[in-house]
């Protein structure tokens, strides 16, 4: 793996323009190109997303992603309502991981207003954030296998476990997916001792699930043949293209915002950052499996150490407040990558500017680079390994 210093040396070497652009591919011989619009209703596109492909036989010569089918201008809506009123809308960005969306938004507003979060609330956030990461990675691997043609079974294994985690979310927040749980300076409701016990029980069952999942998949010949060496992303390009999350770490770049920013209380937990070697689909799959294991390690520590106390400063204002004019950018390591919120306040009750930095959209920047020269069937896999949710891509 390239060391950080080597990465910038590489950049200095590659000063000529265009090194970070996708190569222009020529068809072999005189063959006519076939143009295919894959999506927006293709079952493998995880929603309404279109790729315009140019094919030379089975080989992909050009790939242009087309966005906007699910665009509802979330940012404009948020500029017209108060800070708190955007919290439920953030659930709808990456609707698989609503709790981490809540967290990123709450963190940005806390940076803007300078609010403190009580210790117990920080622990609750970590517990919910890591549970979210596990269920996201489990279902994204399930979908990847589904797209490989393993119809149903791996996805149902993943969903069986996801269901247990969603039950925990439901009993705490009242909703399985649209949780709307975090508040500026804390959380909405406190967790009970019974809920913590239930969470401990679910977490205790997770290592067994991952072992079973891995026995089923990691050494599977078909999975290895389909995934290894497919969709390779070089670390230099990954950094330059702003790719984050498991995709970046699958390419071997050690960058986990939990370790860099230590937002919340992540400096208290011992966990490792799994890295890939080759940057192919298999490495991204493996990084997600290993990240689930590290999340379990964090969960075990957090569930053991969670202190008593309040979950919110009783004097904290969560509605009707007017932050001083200024701006703040807050980011977290969401399951899909760096999720950031950028807020500008003009002193009014609504944000003057509200921006979501969507990891799903920016990770797709390199989709064409990864797919060029491979088969259409591999495009489905490479796209699946990026792990996107269209609610966040199109906002």
């Amino acid at each position: 793996m390239t060391t950080p210093a080597a990465t910038s040396a590489f950049l200095r070497e590659k000063m000529e323009e265009g090194w970070n652009r996708p190569p222009i591919m020529e068809p072999d011989g005189e063959a006519e190109l076939l143009e295919v619009a894959m999506g927006p209703h293709h079952p493998s596109t995880h929603g309404v997303f279109r790729m315009d492909l140019a094919l030379d036989g089975e080989r992909v010569i050009r790939l242009k992603p087309v966005f906007g089918y699910l665009h509802r201008n979330h940012e404009k809506i948020a500029e017209g309502v108060s800070y708190l009123a955007s919290m439920p809308y953030t659930d709808r960005l990456d609707y698989i991981c609503s709790l981490t969306n809540n967290w990123a938004y709450a963190l940005a507003v806390e940076k803007l207003t300078g609010q403190e979060v009580p210790e117990r609330a920080e622990y609750i956030r970590v517990i919910l954030g890591e549970l979210t990461r596990i269920q996201n990675h489990a279902s994204s691997i399930g979908f990847l296998l589904q797209e490989m043609g393993a119809s149903g079974t791996p996805l149902m294994y993943a969903f069986k476990e996801r269901e247990k985690i969603l039950d925990l979310f439901e009993s705490l927040t009242g909703s399985r997916m649209m949780c709307n749980y975090m508040r500026f300076g804390g959380c909405r409701v406190d967790v009970s001792a019974a809920w913590l016990d239930a969470a401990r029980k679910v977490v205790a069952g997770l290592p067994g699930f991952i072992d079973e999942f891995e026995n089923l998949l990691s050494g599977n010949e078909i999975l290895m043949a389909r995934c290894q060496g497919v969709g390779i992303l070089r670390p230099e390009l990954a950094v330059n293209a702003g790719v984050t999350g498991p995709m970046l770490r699958g390419s071997g770049v050690n960058y986990d915002i939990r370790k860099i920013d230590h937002y919340g209380i992540y400096d208290r937990f011992r966990f490792r950052v799994p890295l890939g070697d080759h940057g192919d689909v298999y490495d991204r799959y493996m990084v997600r499996i290993l990240e689930m294991r590290e999340s379990i390690a964090i969960l075990n520590q957090a569930l053991k150490e969670i202190p008593g106390g309040s979950i919110m400063d009783p004097k904290a204002k969560i509605r009707g407040f007017r932050p001083k004019p200024g701006e703040a950018y807050g980011r977290i390591e969401a399951p899909k990558g760096e999720l950031g919120f950028y807020l500008i306040s003009d002193g009014g009750p609504n944000p003057y500017r509200y921006r979501v930095r969507p990891p799903s959209l920016i990770n797709l920047t390199v989709l064409e680079d990864m797919c060029l020269g491979s088969n259409v069937a591999d495009v489905v896999l490479i796209f699946g390994s990026v792990d996107i949710v269209l609610g966040e891509v199109d906002r």
Partner: protein, 228 residues
Amino acid sequence: MKSIEEIKSAIEAAIPGAGVELIPNPSPSGQHSLRLAPADAVEVARFLRDDAELAFDFLSNVTGVDWPGKEITEKVKVTRTVTRIVDGVEQQVEETVEEPRKRVEPGCLEVVYHLFSMAKKHGPIVLRMRTVNRTDQVELPSVTPIWRSAEFQEREIFDLYGVVFTGHPDLRRLLMWKGFKDHPMRRDYVDPDDFEYEPTAHDSVLARAAAHKAAIGGVAQKGTGAGE
């Protein structure tokens, strides 16, 4: 990491005459920013990426902000000669009065960049650039050749704010469709009334649509399905 003042002087030392202005941020976040003159921006960006000590190799977030022109009313002291009757005699007297005067502060479009360093694990540093106005001089240099991550984000700003990025390899709308006009994230954008046309439209809906059509000069948005 170097402080923002040190980064500013490093830029000025490396690129003499570069227009860099420090914009303080009064919020508790303390994320101050540097405003770049568009003419030198690409050079400054390349310096920030390639400098061994700064090594801002990761452009995380690019976004636009709309600052519409503001009409400011301020009181100006005016001295003028008036005719008054003093002690029964008409006289010319000098008098100072405060008069409200309106001044239009021109608006602009702003683009904000959040940079981090993956190699040195520091950041963020916030850069911003402003266009001359919001109507005809909306070009800014693109940083996509330097950081590929700007590719889709600059397309989004072009789409939703109408900033034209010169040097962008593929500047097309990202989220709105091809025939769409106008830029929805601008503060003075007016929603088309007619894009959710009811098959059995009520009179009030039709009246609203007609009013809207008149307001935008009789040309309804193409591709909206409204009575077309």
